[in-house]
Point group: D2
Chain length 341, copies 4
């Protein structure tokens, strides 16, 4: 059956597997000190065009969010996020597990505006009782968001400027960062992100790797003894090479951007088909996630021929569903889906 | 200056101090095993008319909320509360500190409706991805609420019925429970609460005691080794007598209810005066907290003669402020405030 | 029955109760901002002879240990303590509850030596794998110790010097500090402690108060937003006056030292009697706790006439028990105990 | 340079990589629900000969210890471990991070005896103050231990019987379980372990996999909503196939046992060489870790030609070092090391 339910249903890009095979026999040091980790970090930093930045590898997205947030917040601080943020809703309380509140603010199309955050911070510090509340110690955004939308360069600049004026870090969850950077409509580049954010991660799991996320601290702000913190959270891989080799491959010959573009191109073709066939878009997403409102009967019929994912009920008769393309989606699959639709 | 800013600005009821003095010389066992704790528990249980109930004493409200919630939730569960709930906003993240999310739902006049909670629970369990989310493991309500409002017996019955059908405990924060029970409009009694709630606390700090809250588990459902949990949270008093003597006094000769009524009577007289003088009520509260919307200039003038507390800005020109009466407020103070108003 | 099982079996010193009664009617601000808290802090600081010091009030000993340790450690650090330390054994895991390991080291008569700690720190930092271990971030000592013994000035100076060279705070649990300062053999004064320690607390619960401990940070090193941390731990009393009034009384006219001396004098008389009657001391304690090794049959007989506390089994036939005097013990009680012995 | 410093310095067994390549294109569901996970679990259960058992996959050893221990303990319990246990010393406080104390007991050659544990449990429950202490809620052992030693069947039976009589789970850290099962001296089989332990894990990271550990709950005792707990700890892999494919391969055609034997055979040959050349063994280990006491000068010389790991200083002139073989060590490497020695 056709499979459009998510962007992590295939293994890894063949070049990654090839490199895992080729380096397999080499004896390498553990815990991320091997040469592939070193090379991967150098290549990522080159793409970031930020000589002050530092890179660390972790295994998955929730793990990365938990560790980055917990390591940057003091114990009495919480993290600001959109109500629809992944850390707010879909991480099984991984942030609260480490003692921190997720302070949720209203969003628009999955995005937090500088204005919304500013109002919250101003109100917080003008409240007489603020010492009895959770201190806002960080701002979390995702890019692309959970709705596939993107921040503009201007929006990121405003958020960055605001956070710096309050001296709290701005953190970007980049689980699908490649797809954001490859989108046609975006005016945001990786060097922009490495300049405006205090910390972000470049998602591997959803962009060609078997697992792995590359965390970038952008101005020598890696928390002290970060390796110990990673270990304390149960997240330190003995064979760090598994992450090093993958990211070294992804950042060789621009592979990461190249395969990201494939997701965008197949998504655009799929959107064209949806439009052509008169489907209604729930939201206008410029990346690899397409949200369609379907009548329930139509949805049940489709389900028998293609996998997609449930998003939310729109009303009693209509359901919002998501189709996701990825680095691995082929135009043949899109055509076949077109025939079904 | 007149002092209406809160209901904890006096010491203790004189009978409590008298009893502390009279029992002072007796050598008593520590950690809540003394005879005054035993007597106080018996008296409270008699007032609850529930032979299955069990009582424990703690020192303050946030501490009680933290310990009750942490001890009843499994590690992957969170607690449902109104957006305006004390645990959501004004406890410095004490719930998240123990690893649990506060799942906030919309409220009306500070209250959670069974309908709102039911919809949340139904949606949660019908979401395909619910295992990736925080399990709702408990419902927290406050009575009176943070806005001084009260649940009706019918509303409590609906919440109780709902929670029991989902097998999650219903917990009542009774920091000001006396004032709720003494309100003229209420149809809810202490035995009702001890029947419908799974756990609740009878507030002492705000109703005549120097400190202390009496937690009631209503059906032999005290968590196993609760004393160890209290100690682990840093909340076990060596001289448990301090709490035992106070609650023994409060529940002798109906003192708790009697002094609670004083707060209601003085609040009613104060509301009469506010109404008479044309002040605008922000919310209609039947208990000891009165919320008034003031023009900012008026507020600044008043501030010089009487203490009250800031609640929130209504708009650029008006502010909502709170006047609180208590067990210790005298009619003379109300009259004097009347002259100022 | 005579009661020598602990030093917290009476209420409060009568002067404290008198002052609670006299200040009871005054309306006072909450959360430790009242004038009695302010006055008490000033008096304590005067006794400390350290103008850089800052004082905060908490309710009990385990609570204080938990909050001080958690607020001074970074998340990946643990606290070094003697194997017999109160935080290691008798606080129900309150330190681990906040995520920190108690790193236990060998002790002698309840005391940690600078030499033992130094060796641990040296070994730790010379281990290639130290980043995979818990960082030692603080040293905890108790004075008097759990065995009633005392550090000499020289021992404290060595520990202080060592900790400062490693830039980790030295913390003293002073649950019974008064009895340590009042001991005849000691060469350590309160100003010494306020100079050599980074943080310590002056115990109230076991020295004349109903509850309460005064935490002293000795060089403007109170953790940022400490009030929020206290609240987050569920430890902020609404009626801070309860602690302020008590410590204000204890530090007026040298009451704290005066009542501490009573415990020492009665303990000395009791020790004289034990010696005279040929009892065997398990350890030589210069403060208010007396450890006696008894044959089991003898112990059972005594139990019927006087309360004391079980300490440990020495062998199959002998048990170590503890007799404690306190600020409230009278010479008449000692004499009566003498007759029983 | 020759590399004997650990057993995780190579990639994966070639059959694993081959299978990753061959299954790479298949679209598979996420989070461990794919067919390779299902097949791998079935094969493992068959090897366990225990139809009541259940299997879950995690990524690394510290993560597995943290999650298993945290999910089985109630909040006020700690885990008993040997002083030399991995969870006690080398996991950066990952257990305390989740709020649980590691209760350390004396060991012999890395092993905990039933007698030692029994004495601790008896003493604990006979202490009057046990409610003020951390409840022992679980026993952790490692097999092979951190010193490469093994429990006998009789020792495991005694521990199992003891734990069952106290109703606390017995947990085995099997990071190197294959090497334990393949040892010549052992009388313990996988079905024995799956019968006597309540939970254990079969280590993949150190026995042929790139990453991955298979947790086995032996009697339908998987904690409720374990997937949510895994996610909450940041440990749920989106591409569960990475673990499923690896363990499916390891448990096909007995590969896991076969490659484990290689480590034993090469270790035996290496031990023969050490003995022949007159080296002194620090401990007699029957598995793949060999501990040798070297004079410091000798050690420095060796270091230039072969990698091994520092264990501990024996005295001022001698150091204990560890040589580890693995599933990937060749007899040629052993011979070459022989020439160097």
């Amino acid at each position: 059956m056709l499979s459009f339910e998510c962007d992590y249903n295939r293994g890894a890009h063949p070049k990654i597997l090839k490199q895992l095979v080729e380096t397999n026999e080499e004896p390498l040091g553990g815990y991320g000190a091997d040469k592939y980790c070193v090379m991967a970090k150098e290549k990522i930093l080159k793409h970031c065009e930020n000589p002050e930045a530092e890179v660390h590898f972790l295994t998955g997205g929730t793990q990365t969010n938990q560790i980055v947030i917990d390591s940057l917040l003091t114990k009495y601080q919480g993290v600001i996020a959109a109500e629809t943020g992944h850390v707010s809703l879909h991480e099984a309380g991984a942030i609260e597990f480490t003692g921190h509140k997720v302070i949720t603010l209203p969003q628009r199309e999955g995005k937090l505006s500088a204005e919304t955050v500013k109002k919250y911070l101003e109100d917080f510090y003008s409240d007489e009782n603020y010492e009895h509340m959770v201190f806002p110690g960080m701002v979390y955004i995702s890019h692309p968001t959970e709705y596939g939308t993107l921040y503009s360069l201007n929006e990121l600049e405003e958020l960055s400027c605001l956070c710096r004026s309050y001296e709290i870090p701005l953190y970007m969850d980049g689980a699908r960062l490649g797809y954001g950077l490859a989108a046609r409509e975006t005016d945001v580049t990786l060097p922009d992100i490495a300049r405006l954010l205090d910390v972000f991660y470049i998602g591997g799991t959803k962009v060609g790797a078997l697992c792995g996320e590359a965390v970038v601290f952008t101005h020598r702000n890696t928390p002290k003894h970060f390796l110990t913190t990673i270990k304390q959270h149960g997240a330190l891989l003995a064979k760090g090479r598994l992450l090093g080799v993958q990211f070294d491959t992804l950042f060789t010959d621009n592979l990461y951007m190249e395969i990201s573009r494939n997701a965008i191109e197949t998504a655009e073709e799929l959107k064209r088909i949806f439009r052509e066939k008169g489907y209604r878009f729930f939201i206008d997403s410029p990346t690899n996630q397409i949200f369609i409102a379907l009548e329930n009967e139509k949805m049940e019929n489709l389900k028998r021929q293609v996998k997609f994912s449930f998003w939310e009920k729109e009303d009693l008769e209509r359901t919002v569903v998501r189709f996701a393309t990825s680095w691995a989606t082929t135009m043949e699959e899109i055509e076949e889906l077109g025939r079904i639709l």
